[in-house]
C-alpha cells in the first residue's frame, strides 16, 4: 500500500509539470492582456506600462514561467492580478462552497441512485426497471442549466420554499446554509444520480449472473441478503470509479450551476479568471485542481483494493 502511494506520488510530478506548462503556454498565447482588461475604461499607457513592469508581465514568457515555478516550489502561488489577494486565499474562499456543494450533490445522487439502481437490476424488465431507466435517460439528457431554471421556477418562484440564488455557509448558519445549497445540489445530484443509476444497474446485473450468487442462493441466503452481502460490494468498482471522477468535476467544473445559482465556487473562479486573463490566478487554481484530481484518483485506486482484494498491488 505504502509503495503504491509513493509510486503514484512520483508519477504526479511529470503530470503537474505538463499541466502547468500547458496552461501557461495556452494562456499567454491567447490574445488579451490582464491590465488592458482590468483597466478597460482607461487609456493611460503610462499607468498600464508601470503595472505591467511591476507584475513582471513585460518579461519573456519562458522567464515568467520559470519565475512562477520557482515561487510555486517555495509554496507561493502568487497574487491575483485583479483583486491583489493571494491566489491561495482566493481558492480557499471558493473551495468551501464547492466542497459543500459537491458532497451534498453526491449525497443526493447516492440517495436517489442506490434504490433506483438496485430495484432496476433486481426487478429487471418490470415497470420499476423501466421507470428507473427512463429517469436515468432523462437525467443524462437534461442540460444542467435547464434543470436549474426549472427547479428555481418551481421551488423558488412558485412555491417559495427555497432561496433562488446566493450562498450561505452551512457551517455558520446551519439551516439557512443548507437551504441555500438544496437547489444547486439537486441540480448536480440528479444528473449524477442518472449516471450512477445506469452504472450500478449494469454492474449489478453482471454480478447477479456470477456463480457465487447461485451458490449463495442455493445455500438459502435470502434475495436481499444476496444483494446486500455479496453482489453490491462486487458491483461497486465501476460506481466508485464514476464517483471519483465526478467528484473532481463537481468541484472544479460545476461552472454553469455555480453561475445560475450565484454560488461562489471554484469553477466560476477559473472561468472568471480566464476571462480577466488573471494569469497567476488561473495557473494557481488549475494547479490545485490538478492536484485534487490526482488525489481523488489515488483514493479511488485505494478503494478498489479494499472493495476487491484481488486488485491489491503487492
Amino acid at each position: 500500500m505504502g509503495r503504491l502511494v509513493l509510486h503514484r506520488l512520483a508519477a504526479t510530478v511529470p503530470v503537474l509539470l505538463l499541466v502547468t506548462a500547458g496552461v501557461f503556454a495556452l494562456l499567454h498565447l491567447t490574445p488579451g492582456d490582464p491590465i488592458d482588461t482590468m483597466m478597460a475604461e482607461s487609456a493611460d499607457p503610462a499607468v498600464k506600462a508601470h503595472l505591467r513592469r511591476e507584475l513582471g508581465l513585460d518579461r519573456p514568457i519562458p522567464v515568467q514561467y520559470l519565475q512562477w515555478m520557482a515561487r510555486v516550489v517555495r509554496g507561493d502561488l502568487g497574487r491575483s492580478i485583479r483583486n491583489g489577494e493571494p491566489v491561495i486565499e482566493n481558492v480557499s474562499r471558493r473551495l468551501r462552497p464547492s466542497l459543500q456543494l459537491a458532497l451534498l450533490a453526491m449525497t443526493v445522487s447516492l440517495l436517489v441512485a442506490f434504490p433506483l439502481g438496485i430495484v432496476s437490476a433486481v426487478r429487471r424488465n418490470t415497470a420499476a426497471d423501466r421507470a428507473g431507466t427512463t429517469f436515468a435517460l432523462f437525467g443524462i439528457c437534461m442540460p444542467n442549466f435547464l434543470l436549474a431554471l426549472l427547479l428555481i421556477f418551481v421551488f423558488g418562484v412558485t412555491l417559495r420554499w427555497l432561496p433562488i440564488s446566493g450562498y450561505v455557509d452551512p457551517l455558520e448558519e446551519g439551516w439557512d446554509g443548507l437551504r441555500s445549497l438544496v437547489l444547486p445540489a439537486c441540480t448536480l445530484g440528479l444528473a449524477l444520480a442518472a449516471v450512477i443509476t445506469r452504472t450500478l444497474r449494469s454492474s449489478l446485473l453482471e454480478a447477479l449472473g456470477e456463480d457465487y450468487v447461485r451458490t449463495a442462493r442455493a445455500k438459502g441466503v435470502s434475495e436481499w441478503g444476496v444483494i446486500g452481502g455479496h453482489v453490491l460490494k462486487n458491483a461497486m468498482i465501476p460506481v466508485v470509479t464514476v464517483l471519483g471522477l465526478q467528484l473532481g468535476t463537481l468541484i472544479g467544473g460545476a461552472v454553469i450551476t455555480e453561475y445560475v445559482f450565484a454560488l461562489p465556487g471554484v469553477g466560476r473562479l477559473v472561468v472568471d479568471a480566464v476571462f480577466a486573463r488573471d494569469y497567476p490566478l488561473v495557473q494557481g487554481v488549475i494547479l490545485l485542481i490538478a492536484v485534487g484530481f490526482i488525489a481523488c484518483n489515488l483514493v479511488v485506486d485505494l478503494l478498489y483494493g479494499w472493495l476487491d482484494p484481488r486488485i491489491r498491488i503487492r
Binding site: T30, P31, G32, D33, P34, D36, T37, M38, M39, A40, E41, S42, A43, D44, P45, A46, V47, K48, H50, L51, E54, R82, N83, G84, R93, R94, L149, I152, F153, G156, V157, R160, P163, I164, S165, G166, Y167, Y259, V260, F261, A262, P264, R268, F275, A276, R277
Partner: protein, 512 residues
Amino acid sequence: MTSDVTRRTFLQLSAAALAATPALAQTAVTPKKGGTLRVGFYVEAVTMDPHLSGSKVDRQVYHNVYEPLLTLDTKLNVKPGLAESWTQPDPKTLVLKLRRGVRFHDGTAFDAEAAKFNFNRMKTEPKSLRKGEVANIDSVDVVDAATIKINLKRPDASLLATLTDRAGMMVSPKVVAERGAGLERDARGAGTGPFEFVEWVRDSHLVIKRNDSYWNKQGGPYLDRVRYRPIPDDVVKLQSLQAGEIDVMDYVLPRDVAPMKADKRLVVVDVPSLAAFGYQLNHTRPPFNVKALRQAVAYAVDLDQIVKGVWLNVGYPSNGPISPASWAYDRAIPHIKRDLGKAKAKLLEGGQPGGFTFTVITQNIPITAQETEVIQAQLAEAGITMKIQLVDSSTLIASGNAKNFEMISFQWSGRPDPDGNTYQFFKTTPGTSFNWSGLSSEKVDALLERTREVSNQAERRKLYGELTRLLQDELPMLFIVHPIEPKAFSPRVQGYDPIPDGMMRFKDVWLR
C-alpha cells in the same frame, strides 16, 4: 424626420411612464425610515478605493458611501456636492468653496487640506486609475480651511463633470494613512456619504448602513441598510426580483423589458443612458482606409431596423457619439439613413463596384451577436460580405489596442460631459489609445480642442453638433445605438430618482 418624431414621442412616453410609476410617486406619502434594501448586481465590486477603481459596478456602491465635490441632477447639470459653489476667475483656474461642518465617517473633518490630499493621491499613487482624469490639474492650493484653488495646465471645460464621479470623490486621509491598501477591501470610515460601509464578504454580499450624522438634513437617508449581492445570471436575477428575494435589479435586458412592464409585481424604470454603442472602422488598413467604402457600409446599414428588431426599441438610433440624454445632443442631426443606391455609388467610388469582403470582431454576447448578424444580412443586400468573428472581451480589447481589426465592436458606457464620449476616441493619438480607428483629421482635432477651451454650454453644444456632422462624414465609427438602461424595482421601493449616468443613489429611497 419621422424617426425624430418617434424618438420624441418615445421620450415623452417614457417621461409619462416615469411619472406614473409608484417608485417615483413620492409626493403623496411621507417617507418612512427603516428597512434593508436588497440590490442584485450582475457582478461583484472589485475595489472599495475610488482612486484605484476601474469598473462600473464599484461606482454603484461609491455613490452612496463617498461623495464627489460636485454632483449631477437628472438633466446632467452640475450641482454642488461637497463643494457648495465654484467660480472660474480665468479659464485655467477653478476655485471651489467647500461645505463646512462635513465629517468623514471616521470622524475626521473634511476640509481644504483633505481635498488637496485627495488630489495629490490621485496624481501620485502608483496604482491610481484617476491619473488620466486629473492629468490636466497642475496643482491644488489651499486658500483657507474651506477653499481650494485648482490650477490647470490648459483650459478644460469638462473638468466640472469629471469632478462629479470618482475623480471628485473624497476619501478620509486618516483612513488612507492607517489602512493603506486595506482600503480596497474595507472602506469603514472612509467616506462622507449618506451611507457608511459596514462589511464586504467577498463573493457573497456587501453591506452599507445609514449615516445618521449625514450633513444634508433634507430628505434621506431613510434606509437602515443596503445589501448588494452579485447574481450573474439575468434570468435568475429577474426571478429573484419576482420572488421578492431582491428589491432592485441593476439592469434589464431589452428582451425582458416588455414582459416585466406587464408584470404587476414589478416596476420598471427606463433610465436613459449616456452610452454609445457602435463599431470602429480601421482607417489604417484596407478596406476601410478608403473613405467611400466606410460610407458605403454606413449607407447599407439600417439603424431603424436594428434598434427595432434587435434592441426592441430599448434605445435610440445613434447619430453620433453623444446620447440623447446629454445636453450636447443635437436632435436636428438625423442618423445616417439606409440608402442602397448611395451605398452602391460609394462602392463604385471606392473602386469596389462588385462589393468587398471584411471581418468584424465582436463580443460573444447574445445581443451583440444578433446585431452583427442583422448587419451582415443588410450589408449582403448591398453586395458587401461581412464575416463575423466572436471573441471574449479581453481579446476584443487586445485587438482594438493593437489596431488588429477591420471593423470592431465598441461599447462605451458614456460620461456626463460630452468630452468623455469624444476626445479620447477621435483625437489624433500616436500609440495606444481609444482611437482604435486611427482617425487623424486636423479639422476634428481642432474642434475637439475648441470644445475644451470654450466654457459656454450653448457654444459647446454647437461645436459638438459640428463635430457630429464631421464624424458622420469621416466615419471613424459606425454609430448604431444609444441604449436605454432600464432598472427594475419591487413596488415597495419608493423615491428613486434616475440620473442618466446609470448610478443608483439611494439617499432618498425608502421602503413602503
